[in-house]
Point group: C2
Chain length 195, copies 2
């Protein structure tokens, strides 16, 4: 798929089929992520690729549990407030039951940690779209990246003491296939020309 | 160009030719940036596209001036320390004299501001590479995004009171053309498999 098409047709996928993601495709997605630029060519983004469904289920349970202890506050970022609200309901699965969840972690003390992880995630979204895989940016583990329960659990699957999670990506085949059209026109993201 | 090729051959360009960037190509790059995902589909990234060479020169002068007032500190992010050091020399042009500089600004109070801007920048880097344009992530205006002198100047070219700059991109034709090979293999950016 052409780069421009892969960029303009990328959309968030929130309903996944059970079809497993081929190893080769997943490796292509990860390679795209690893080739993102980094501040001073630092290359400290750590990709934690979770395919074990029991671990994903346990992580989802813990995320629900920890959000459900929190309360919405005035002026809170609306997506975070929504996560807290939904976590108090019966069912809340933060990763949309995707078969693969890729965490991007980086060093706490590194000034470009969020931006580097975001570039890696964006590359993976574009490459996945080119390979007919659906993705969705997952922010819950970033919002919980100082939470002790979540952090301790993530330490058991590879997160180091120096790292925090700054973003994640659900990956899998969309239940009803990907749309082949350009995403909805942007009404925001304005451009100012300084000529 | 295929998406994968555009991602894997993207490299930073730091020496630009004087050749102007065609309006159509620049609009394609900006469209790619505008189609990046945003937290809760917020779409508040503001692209400020500077092509006026007098304004770019004045901005470069102010950036040099403000960095030269700063001092390196122990443990400082090495790229920032390098900018401060170089700013005290005779010549320091933070945007590598690229013919176009695109600032990505976002709302100060918005929790996903850095990540959203990074996704927009990554999309623009990939699309530019596919169009044979060179780019380089420019972090200096992010490091100075609380500096009063820089902020006041940016207000005169479109930055609003609610916004700060969270990243920027130099864009232009590489003086010696773009390399047509994959970037150097990543030695960092490790992958942990959780199966």
């Amino acid at each position: 798929m052409r780069a421009e098409e892969a960029i303009l047709t990328r959309r968030s996928t929130r309903v996944y089929s059970d079809r497993p993601v081929e190893q080769e495709k997943l490796e292509q997605v990860l390679e795209a992520g690893r080739y993102a630029p980094s501040g001073g060519n630092n290359q400290t983004t750590h990709f934690i690729v979770i395919r074990n469904q029991e671990i994903l289920a346990e992580l989802a349970r813990l995320v629900k549990q920890e959000f459900s202890k929190m309360e919405e506050t005035p002026g809170m970022y609306k997506s975070l407030a929504g996560a807290i609200r939904r976590s108090k309901g019966e069912v809340y699965v933060f990763h949309y039951n995707a078969p693969v969840l890729i965490l991007t972690a980086n060093r706490i003390e590194y000034g470009n940690n969020i931006a580097d992880c975001a570039c890696c995630l964006e590359n993976m979204m574009i490459e996945a779209n080119a390979l007919d895989l659906g993705t969705c940016w997952i922010n819950q583990l970033k919002w919980l990246n100082e939470n002790e329960v979540i952090t301790q659990y993530l330490r058991t699957i590879g997160l180091t003491e120096e790292e925090r999670v700054y973003g994640a990506l659900s990956v899998g085949y969309a239940k009803n296939g990907l749309p082949d059209r350009k995403a909805l026109p942007r009404t925001g993201n304005p451009v100012s020309w300084v000529d």
